[in-house]
């Protein structure tokens, strides 16, 4: 009966129809007795009316019985489907609860810290489960950026099942708020697989061909974040979302949207936090910059921004900040001088709003004593100034401070010295116009790059193209990042004599590249255009294959005299237009870069345009340095990787932001003399799930007496999740083109019970109740007409 009625026990109320019959019979024996003089008239009246009276009594009795019967039926909440369907399954409620666990659900709803949107969603989920009837089935999925289902198949709501699900909603490790973002498209794409499990047979067999899917209800408990779902015009950002929704509808599911978030949330997020300098040097000033976005529709004034350095409890700097609605602002940066080399922790905190997690951000700054660059000069002159690398060396070793201290320390060697150098001590190796790279040097450089080093090739007249293509490029297997073709143009000296000599301008074709990004401002574009290239090697950066990573070509060349006489770089050009000038490709863990012209004044006049030359080469070196270092600033969901040389091998232990210590296994990499510590270890489901600073301690290092100083890395959340702007059920319905029913979170249980089922069972009890009211009116009218007023 439970499948036909929401409250089958109340059907016993139908026995109440005995009441009017009993009352009717009792009144035959329960009466008051009076003396009456004019009995004759009464006797005549009775004689005349007896038939009519009996009929009236019977009619009233019937109506009263019917009232009670219908009332009992209404209380039992019949499901209309029960009356027409024969398949038992069809009258069960099949419910999927999708619980948003993204970090925005940590939004605090009131003064109580524990009362968050997530707790509200958890409570609502429990109310849904509690409101289900025996025989109903439920699946629970928790989602953020990915979807985790609590059960492999639907749980039946018998006594044990309900207790387990309620318990799991409280305790299961999956049901906790994460620090990840929301991926609603991902959820909807995963749900058809979950929903189809309701249609499987008892043994897991698929439903028969052509069978109608069972009715299901999908409760979406979320804070309805608009970002990632709808654009400003209300259209879907990802069309796949619409297709997934259609699929869900085709599986018989109705989407019920329960907004568990705050009604009018205001939130700000630290969107960017890091140093202005690509590499921070010891005792050299650096600038730690922060950007804060105000997502809300109100101006947030007098915010306090605090910078904390190296775990200090008192802020290093406090600044005040006001942000207009919807804007992003960068307060005054923290200018700081790190006295010691090594990793340093800097944290920023903005006070404060309902969502605390994104008001903090952490960064680990790797402070370098110096950046060592090995310049392999293929064209040493008699005087230093004649060296191929002379101008480069001068540019790199420019002082950072007034007292002459610089960050980059270049060293110049001959190609023959490469194999003897300890390459791992250098951050970048630059080979300038090296005609042929000796085999042992080539091998050492490849190993160096494979382990994370950066190698830059600059070309020139000495370069043996065939050697480069055959030995260094090797069809993509070698270190050189592109295949070379013929040399084009001539030298700068020749061009000075010949006005018609060909010349090329440089143009930025990939502004996302850190070096190319420098030359996007108006002032820097002027510098970029000032330099001219007269000779270069044409190159063909092969497209990526399975073994070959994609090349980056941030700078290209366009001829000086274009058809319309415009200066190169002015016109909008596609990325592939023009000849490549700078080609970069990943090699192993490191990078390989080719500058397809000379680094001195041989084939171009860059050296005289120091507004281009100096920032270009310094930025390239620092960027490569920074990128070849292990990543210390990670996101939620990433893994921390630390490579150890043989002499650094030892035990590795990670301490999490909440103080847990975990031993990290260290494994030897197959083809290299390297060891790797991966945290969390591969194979475990959880990646880095908590934002904050992690401490990496090493002990038992074979090559050192004392334990080395701890390393740090920082994990930060995705700031986009801080945008709490909402979509409404109507907007979602319009965009998805499937019905989306909104229910207030506090009414979920009432609605569930009132429906008599989430599985689309119609609300038959309302009709029964309407019938009761109609019959009550009829009874009153009849009683009045028959002279049976209730006195």
């Amino acid at each position: 009966m439970g499948t036909y009625f929401a409250n089958p026990l109340l059907l016993w109320g139908g026995l109440a129809i005995a009441a009017p019959i009993i009352i009717f019979l009792l009144t035959r024996f329960r009466f008051r007795t009076v003396e009456w003089a004019a009995l004759t008239f009464l006797q005549r009246a009775v004689k005349r009316q007896q038939r009519r009276l009996n009929l009236e009594n019977l009619l009233l009795l019937l109506v009263r019985c019917l009232i009670l019967l219908l009332f009992a039926l209404a209380l039992a909440r019949p499901r209309a489907q029960a009356l027409v369907l024969t398949r038992e399954d069809d009258v069960r409620k099949n419910v999927v609860i999708a619980l948003d666990a993204s970090y925005s659900m940590g939004y605090q709803l009131g003064s109580d810290e524990d009362e968050t949107a997530f707790e509200r969603a958890r409570r609502t989920a429990k109310e849904i489960v509690a409101g289900l009837e025996s025989g109903d089935r439920v699946m629970v999925s928790v989602f953020d950026e990915d979807v985790r289902s609590l059960y492999p198949s639907p749980r039946e709501m018998n006594e044990e099942g309900r207790r387990d699900v309620l318990q799991d909603l409280d305790d299961a490790p999956e049901v906790r708020r994460s620090e990840r973002g929301t991926d609603l498209p991902g959820l909807l794409a995963a749900l058809p697989r979950v929903l189809s499990k309701f249609d499987l047979g008892p043994g897991g067999q698929p439903p028969p061909e052509g069978a109608q899917p069972l009715k299901k209800t999908l409760y979406l408990l979320t804070d309805c974040q608009r970002a990632g779902v709808l654009d400003d015009a209300g259209a879907l950002k990802n069309p796949a979302l619409g297709r997934a929704a259609k699929e869900i509808e085709a599986l018989g599911a109705t989407i019920v949207l329960v907004d568990c978030g705050a009604e009018d949330p205001k939130n700000l997020t630290v969107t960017r936090f890091g140093t202005l300098e690509p590499v921070v040097g010891q005792d050299l000033p650096c600038h730690v910059e922060v950007s804060v976005k105000n997502w809300s529709a109100f101006a947030l004034n007098d915010l306090t921004v605090e910078y904390f350095v190296d775990g200090a409890t008192t802020p290093q700097k406090v600044v005040s900040l006001s942000i207009p609605p919807g804007e992003e602002r960068a307060p005054e940066p923290l200018r700081y001088l790190f006295k010691e080399a090594g990793p340093h922790r800097v944290e920023v905190q903005v006070r404060s709003d309902g969502l605390v997690l994104d008001n903090r951000r952490h960064v680990v700054i790797d402070v370098r004593r110096e950046v060592r660059v090995l310049l392999v000069d293929g064209e040493r002159g008699r005087a230093r100034v004649d060296n191929e690398t002379y101008y480069l060396e001068e540019a790199l070793k420019l002082a950072e401070t007034d007292d002459g201290r610089g960050l980059i320390r270049p060293e110049v060697v001959d190609p023959a010295q490469v194999s003897g150098a300890r390459l791992e001590d250098y951050d970048v190796v630059i080979l300038a116009n090296v005609g042929t790279v000796p085999d042992d040097a080539s091998t050492a450089l490849e190993a160096y790059a494979r382990q994370g080093g950066a190698v830059v090739f600059t070309l020139g007249g000495l370069v043996d193209v065939r050697h480069y293509n055959d030995d260094l490029w090797r069809g993509g297997a070698g270190l050189f990042p592109t295949a070379l073709q013929e040399m084009r143009g001539g030298t700068w000296l020749e061009a000075q004599d010949d006005r018609d000599a060909p010349a090329w301008f440089m143009t930025v074709t990939d502004p996302r590249h850190p070096v190319a990004g420098l030359f996007t401002s108006e002032e820097m574009v002027t510098w970029l255009k000032a330099a001219q290239i007269y000779g270069f090697f044409a190159a063909d950066p092969a497209p990526p294959t399975r073994d070959l990573p994609a090349p980056q070509v941030p700078f290209r060349l366009v001829p000086r005299a274009s058809d319309d006489g415009a200066v190169g770089g002015d016109r909008a050009r596609s990325i592939d237009e023009g000849q490549p000038l700078l080609v970069e490709r990943a090699f192993g863990r490191g990078r390989a870069v080719a500058w397809l012209t000379t680094v001195d004044y041989g084939w171009n006049n860059c050296v005289v345009h120091d507004g281009f030359y100096v920032p270009f080469w310094r930025q390239l070196v620092l960027d490569l340095t920074q990128r070849s270092r292990p990543a210390l600033n990670l996101g939620i969901g990433d893994r921390y990787e630390r490579l150890l040389r043989a002499e650094e091998y030892g035990r590795v232990e990670v301490e999490t932001p909440d103080g847990r210590r975990e031993q990290v296994p260290v494994e030897k990499l197959d083809d290299q003399e390297l060891y790797r510590a991966l945290y969390p270890p591969e194979g475990e489901r959880d990646a880095l799930e908590m934002s904050g600073f992690y401490t990496v301690a090493r002990a038992g290092v074979s090559g050192a007496d004392e334990a080395p100083a701890p390393d740090y890395f920082a994990v930060t959340i995705d700031p986009a999740e801080g945008d709490l702007a909402k979509f409404s059920a109507e907007e979602l319905q319009t965009a998805l083109e499937v019905p989306v029913r909104p229910i207030r979170h506090e009414l979920v249980r009432e609605v569930l019970v009132a429906q008599g089922g989430g599985a689309g069972a119609s609300e038959f009890w309302r009709h029964a109740l309407a019938g009761v009211i109609g019959l009550l009116v009829l009874e009153s009218v009849l009683a009045a007409a028959f002279g049976r007023g209730r006195r």
Partner: protein, 303 residues
């Protein structure tokens, strides 16, 4: 001249608190009469009887102006009136007359006695002769006509000694009395008339045949006229009529129709025979009865 009528003692409920019927009768009549503009009960005879001091309400044409000239006071000349009317009061003393719906209200019999006693008082004050008959299924008591003051006591005693226990049989009683009252006069019947209408009308017609003036006071309890019962009720009939158990609400209309048909039949028969028919329910003030009597009395041709 006019004086406010003391209506207190015209209300039957008030009268139930007074136990002595003679006092009731006097209070009713005096209260009733005092308010009339013209004292109606002075005789029309010319034989002087005595003087009496004027009281408001007396007709000023009877003031003896000679006495006023002598004594400077108003005196009324009163005359010895000849008794020229015999009023026969027939009071129903059957069991059905003891019915009353509410405590505190008079039973139909008590009400009938108030009416009879008051009429007797009035009649005797007018020097007419009054006679009383009490009956149920037969004549129970008969006080022959008389006009002395002590006669009133006889009538009162007879009224107070009625024991309502038997059935009504109005027709035979009326016929019997029509034969026994020989002198033409006024016949007043006070009853709930719970008998066959044909028999009642036949008896009344007998009186009319004997040239009597007839007034029928049909006394009913208010409940008998409205049937105010609600829940299931067993009605036990008086006078051995059995019992009926029913839902009174459902039967009210039918009952009232039956009652109307009955009283309509009686009224119609009375009108045909020029008999005054007055329906009294026991909550109606007694002056209705007295006024009806006086109207009939003054319309009679006296011999």
């Amino acid at each position: 001249m006019a004086q406010t009528r003391d209506t207190r003692f015209l209300d039957p409920k008030t009268l139930t608190k007074i136990s002595r019927l003679d006092i009731i009768a006097r209070l009713v009549v005096e209260g009733f009469v005092t308010g009339l503009h013209r004292s109606p009960y002075h005789g029309f005879s010319v034989e002087f009887a005595e003087h009496r001091e004027y009281v408001p309400g007396d007709d000023i044409k009877h003031i003896d102006w000679k006495v006023f000239g002598r004594s400077d006071r108003f005196y009324i000349k009163q005359y010895e009136e000849e008794t020229n009317l015999t009023a026969t009061l027939l009071v129903d003393g059957s069991e059905s007359m003891r019915y009353r719906y509410q405590d505190g209200s008079p039973t139909k019999l008590e009400y009938a006695c108030y009416v009879a006693a008051s009429l007797a008082y009035l009649i005797l004050r007018q020097r007419d002769a009054a006679s009383l008959v009490t009956f149920d299924d037969a004549i129970q008591a008969f006080i022959p006509p008389g006009s002395s003051a002590s006669h009133r006591n006889l009538i009162i005693d007879a009224l107070t000694s009625i024991k309502p226990a038997k059935r009504t049989s109005l027709g035979p009683v009326l016929h019997t009395m029509a034969e026994r009252v020989r002198r033409k006069g006024l016949v007043v019947i006070i009853s709930d008339l719970l008998d066959e209408p044909a028999a009642i009308l036949s008896g009344l017609r007998h009186f009319r045949h004997k040239r009597h003036e007839v007034i029928v006071f049909h006394v009913l309890d208010q409940a008998e006229r409205t049937f105010p019962f609600g829940s299931m009720t067993r009605f036990q009939g008086l006078e051995g009529l059995g019992e009926v158990t029913c839902d009174p609400g459902a039967l009210r209309r039918a009952y009232l129709e039956e009652l109307d048909r009955f009283s309509g039949e009686i009224r119609h028969g009375c009108r045909q025979d020029r008999i005054d028919y007055v329906l009294l329910d026991t909550s109606v003030p007694l002056d209705v009865a007295l006024t009806s009597y006086l109207a009939t009395r003054s319309g009679m041709k006296l011999t």
